[in-house]
């Protein structure tokens, strides 16, 4: 009885103030927009990972390029990732490549050439890579070839990286594995006028047993630290036992998982780092990021020595 009279009162009030149809339209619009928001905005495709840190704590030169001092000191590279969508496997492949443009021998490269064609134009390397590609296809060898973009100071470059580590390194004795230059990259500007060739080693940094002070790998609360000497508390493992060839793999990634990798290097010993090769001007520190076996991104940090 009470509710009936209240309804009557309400209806009368609405009749007097607004047409109830207007209320209906507003209510329907609200319901539809809420549903639309849930369907299209709330369920938008997210990137599986978010990069929250990807930097060196190095001084930069006048062009904004990282510059590694040749003095004793601790310089760190930090990578931080947050998982936004669950997936099976995250792989981080570290490599450090030295400018080896003086070793580049090749013919004319037409401006319209693709990144792979430009790479193939470095005669010996192109021939060798083509041969390995044939075997890789036949025998299911893992061979990584990817295009990427890199910013060197204010200039944008396109790049192409070929990682021959899988076909070559498994046969090599452990003692020589880190000394095999199996990662090759080409940087060129979009006009095809500038071309740089980099050659390097798959690892967290050059000469891990000399140049890396420590390496920290963290997944959520689980932290593993490697350094040149074990601590008395036993909280640190030896650097030589760090994951081989700078390859990290994380399985069964959950939403909001956090991954951090920190590499601290001492730049005081350039000969050890460069293994007495003549090119000492530029190197690139590179991380190839794979999600469920597919290359997700290539992070490139050019560093001037």
């Amino acid at each position: 009885m009470k509710s009936c009279s209240a309804r009557t009162w309400l209806n009368l009030e609405m009749k007097q103030v607004v047409d109830r149809r207007l209320v209906g339209i507003v209510a329907i619009a609200f319901v539809l927009s809420s549903a639309g928001f849930s369907l299209f905005v709330g369920e938008r495709v997210e990137s599986p990972i978010e990069v929250i840190r990807n930097e060196w704590n190095l001084p930069t030169d006048s062009k904004g390029i990282y510059s590694m001092p040749k003095t004793e000191g601790r310089y760190t590279y930090s990578l931080g990732l947050v998982v936004r969508k669950p997936f099976e496997k995250l792989e981080l492949l570290f490599a450090t490549l030295k400018n080896s443009s003086f070793k580049m021998v090749g013919g004319e490269i037409p401006p319209s050439a693709s990144a792979r064609e430009r790479f193939g134009a470095i005669v010996e390397l192109g021939n060798m890579t083509s041969v390995i590609e044939g075997y890789a296809e036949r025998y299911h060898m893992r061979l990584e070839e990817h295009e990427f973009r890199a910013k060197v100071g204010s200039r944008e470059y396109e790049g192409f990286v070929v990682d021959l580590t899988w076909p070559i390194v498994p046969v090599a004795p452990a003692a020589v594995q880190h000394g095999l230059p199996t990662v090759h990259a080409l940087l060129f500007d979009p006009n095809g006028t500038a071309l740089q060739y980099y050659r390097g080693f798959p690892d967290f940094f050059l000469s891990r047993n000399e140049s890396i002070i420590d390496l920290t790998i963290q997944r959520n609360q689980n932290v593993t630290k490697f350094s040149q000497r074990t601590t008395q508390q036993g909280t640190s493992l030896l650097m030589k036992d760090a994951p081989a060839l700078g390859r990290l793999a994380f399985r069964d990634l959950r939403k909001e998982d956090q991954i951090f990798v920190t590499v601290a290097v001492n730049s005081a010993d350039p000969d050890a780092m460069y293994q007495a090769t003549p090119a000492r001007d530029t190197m690139i520190h590179m991380i190839l990021v794979f999600i469920d076996g597919e290359c997700y991104d290539v992070f490139v940090s050019p560093i001037i020595w």
């Binding site: 009557t8 209806n11 009368l12 009749k15 109830r20 149809r21 209320v23 209906g24 209510a27 329907i28 319901v31 539809l32 809420s34 549903a35 849930s38 369907l39 369920e43 669950p86 997936f87 099976e88 496997k89 070793k103 010996e124 390397l125 021939n127 060798m128 041969v131 390995i132 044939g134 075997y135 296809e137 036949r138 025998y139 299911h140 060898m141 893992r142 021959l164 899988w166 076909p167 070559i168 390194v169 498994p170 046969v171 090599a172 004795p173 020589v176 095999l180 230059p181 199996t182 050659r199 469920d292 076996g293």
Partner: protein, 343 residues
């Protein structure tokens, strides 16, 4: 209806694409059979033309069913020494420069590999430990041959010391090469001063000093070492590689050496089988991860579909309820009646 047809067409197209991707490509298969023969790796230190010439000499030999790759970059050569498909290495060292390759040559040899070394291959400061353990000359000195002005070349007379398949159909001959590398003391150059663990056969000797000129070595691996035939690409120079590569004796000796090493090496089979097992395991793991990722993607898609349906259903119910409340005539009629009663 049109939408259903479009979906069906899309499904058929997808199926065709999948079929094309997974079915074996006959052309690719033919290419694969050509490009995946055992690899003969030719390294010519600093002299690409010399390397190409060696590849040309070997490419027509039916005993060597190989794909040939010529390299002059020591870093690339070093990497390729560990590539599992490499069956035999032909390494020509044209200078006494140490490129840090000795350890890697030794690793290849100790893995059962077959190698043929020319020029400074057995020179102490060029290949370091490999000048004893792979190319057992331990050389640190050399003999210059007699100069032939009409041929514009230095010459060494080589004679057969011990019979071996590599000297078949050749016999004694004159080598048009500038130097023959010998151990430090020329007098003791008559004997090999290496501590070899395997069996050494001196196939040819230099007639002037009786120094070993071509040596076959069998230990963990097998090798043939030439104490001569370093060359360069300067056509007018007496050291030009073409002076000896054009000689039939050299061509035969090189082919015989490679063919013998090709048949005698012990690395290729075992390296390939272990490497292929590893590659298959990695490929299997990659497939599993891909399958798991696809399954997760399908589940996610299903979840999204259900969620969409649920939200759409709720929206329809909501709109229906609002419509009934605000737009349905019965509701308005009741209100009017109630108003009349109230009035």
């Amino acid at each position: 209806m049109a939408s259903g047809q479009r979906q069906m067409a899309r499904g058929i197209l997808l199926a065709v694409v999948v079929l094309v991707l997974v079915s074996p490509n006959p052309l690719a298969g033919q290419q694969g059979s050509n490009v995946t023969k055992p690899l003969l790796l030719v390294y010519s230190q600093g002299e690409p033309a010399y390397g190409r010439e060696l590849a040309n000499i070997l490419s027509g030999d039916p005993r060597i069913d190989a794909q040939i790759l010529v390299l002059t970059d020591p870093d690339l050569f070093k990497s390729m020494l560990y590539f599992p498909s490499v069956k035999v290495v032909l390494a020509v060292f044209n200078h006494d420069k140490d490129e840090g390759l000795g350890e890697h040559l030794q690793n290849f040899f100790e893995g059962g590999g077959g190698m043929v070394g020319l020029g400074f291959a057995g020179w102490q400061t060029t290949t370091r430990q490999a000048s004893q353990t792979v190319f057992p000359l331990n050389a640190s000195s050399y003999i210059v041959g007699s100069y032939n002005a009409s041929a514009r070349a230095y010459m060494h007379d080589l004679y057969v010391d011990e019979a071996h398949p590599i000297s078949r159909d050749i016999g004694d001959f004159t080598a048009y090469t500038h130097k023959v590398f010998v151990s430090a003391d020329k007098a003791s150059g008559q004997q090999l001063s290496v501590k070899s663990e395997g069996e050494v056969t001196v196939v040819y000797r230099d007639a002037a000093l009786n120094a070993p000129a071509v040596v076959v070595y069998e230990a963990a691996g097998v090798s043939v070492t030439f104490a001569c035939f370093a060359g360069d690409s300067v056509e007018r120079a007496p050291t030009y590689f073409g002076r000896f590569t054009s000689r039939e004796e050299f061509r035969k000796l090189l082919r015989n050496s490679i063919a013998w090493v090709w048949a005698s090496e012990r690395r290729y089979g075992k390296t390939m089988s272990s490497a292929l097992a590893r590659f298959a395991e990695e490929a299997h793991e990659a497939d599993e991860i891909r399958a798991q990722a696809e399954l997760s993607a399908r589940q996610h898609k299903t979840h999204r579909l259900l969620r969409t349906v649920a939200i759409a259903a709720l929206a329809v119910l909501g709109v229906g309820a609002i419509h009934r409340k605000c737009f349905a005539p019965s509701s308005r009629k009741t209100t009017v009646e109630e108003q009349a009663k109230g009035g």
